[in-house]
């Protein structure tokens, strides 16, 4: 129905909102999960970024969280339909356990992304749009400029602290 | 796409094999660690060459043996460093 490049942009926005919401709810910018994430956060802060944003970037690097869950759910729906998305959730949970992480954020993000992508497939989108959209979404967080990305994440983290209590 | 009747991964694998062999023979900081890391490069090049013959069992065996030999080299280097007193 729509043009393919336009659909990819819409899918990128949907994926960005999905994984950012799940990551913020599960408090990824609060602290580093493993000591490697803390090292990345300190280097990002030393280069002019924000510490809380650096924690979230380090957590995304060093364990599969909701962004990886969104990508693998899109791959699963693209390859094997709705069942493939839930199988991807199991794989993300196993991957989280390998990387010494509790694995709540990844599994939750994967299940919500499976439902979103499957619903969008019924509404005229293709699942391959969501794969490309997730790659674009992760590029805006990790790939353009770590200074601006970490400051943006810190601003969203402050908004989340004001809305939902429970962080420090 | 075929270049001169060879599949592209065969040609890329040969290029990596040559570059990696030169890098392993003349490592820049001349110590064992750099040589061991550079030894990974022709290993993957050889895997890419073997890929163009479609033999799955050969690829399995090569990958497993490559990792095992890396582990043995690492143990040897640790034992040598411990024996030298560093």
């Amino acid at each position: 129905m729509l043009d393919e490049s336009f659909r990819i942009l819409i899918a990128a926005v949907i994926c960005w909102l999905n994984f950012m919401t799940v990551d913020l709810i599960f408090k990824l910018p609060e602290s580093g999960g493993v000591c490697g994430a803390t090292a990345i956060a300190q280097e990002v802060e030393k280069g002019g970024g924000n510490l809380n944003g650096g924690f979230m970037m380090g957590n995304i690097v060093s364990s599969p969280d909701a962004s990886a869950g969104t990508l693998l759910a899109s791959c699963g729906v693209f390859c094997a339909g709705l069942f493939g998305g839930f199988f991807a959730a199991v794989l993300v949970y196993i991957g989280n356990r390998i990387c010494y992480d509790p694995g709540y954020a990844g599994t939750t993000g994967c299940i919500t992304a499976t439902l979103i992508v499957y619903g969008a497939t019924q509404a005229g989108f293709a699942a391959s749009d969501f794969i490309a959209g997730m790659v674009i979404a992760i590029l805006t967080i990790q790939g353009i400029s770590y200074v601006h990305a970490s400051r943006l994440i810190a601003r969203l983290w402050k908004v989340r602290c004001r809305l939902l209590r429970g962080c420090r | 796409m075929m270049i001169a009747e060879y599949p592209p991964e065969f040609l890329i694998g040969l290029v990596i094999l040559v570059i990696g062999t030169i890098a392993t023979a003349f490592p820049r900081p001349k110590d064992y660690l750099t040589r061991l890391i550079n030894l990974e490069i022709p290993g993957w090049g050889l895997l890419l060459v073997m890929l163009s013959y479609n033999e799955a069992l050969a690829l399995f065996t090569f990958g497993a043996i490559s990792v095992l030999s890396t582990y043995i080299y690492v143990r040897v280097m640790q034992k040598k460093a411990g024996g030298a007193g560093t």
């Binding site: - | 796409m1 890329i12 290029v15 570059i19 990958g63 497993a64 990792v67 640790q78």
Partner: protein, 76 residues
Amino acid sequence: MNEFVLVACTILVLIGTTAAMLERDPFNKLISLAVMISGIFPFIIDRGLLDVAIATALIAPLSTIFILMVCRRMPA
């Protein structure tokens, strides 16, 4: 695999190889090696050898972890 993806994977492999040869720090060498390995995987998938791809993807980090055991022993 069409020409664009083939050229992109070739560029990934050649960038990784050149950088792994020219870097001096062991950690930077390992990161460049990871770039080279990510360029190799689409070739394995394109041949249709999914089992080899799964086994190789699980085996390749083990090699890096074994090398990191020595990097910790001799900090650069």
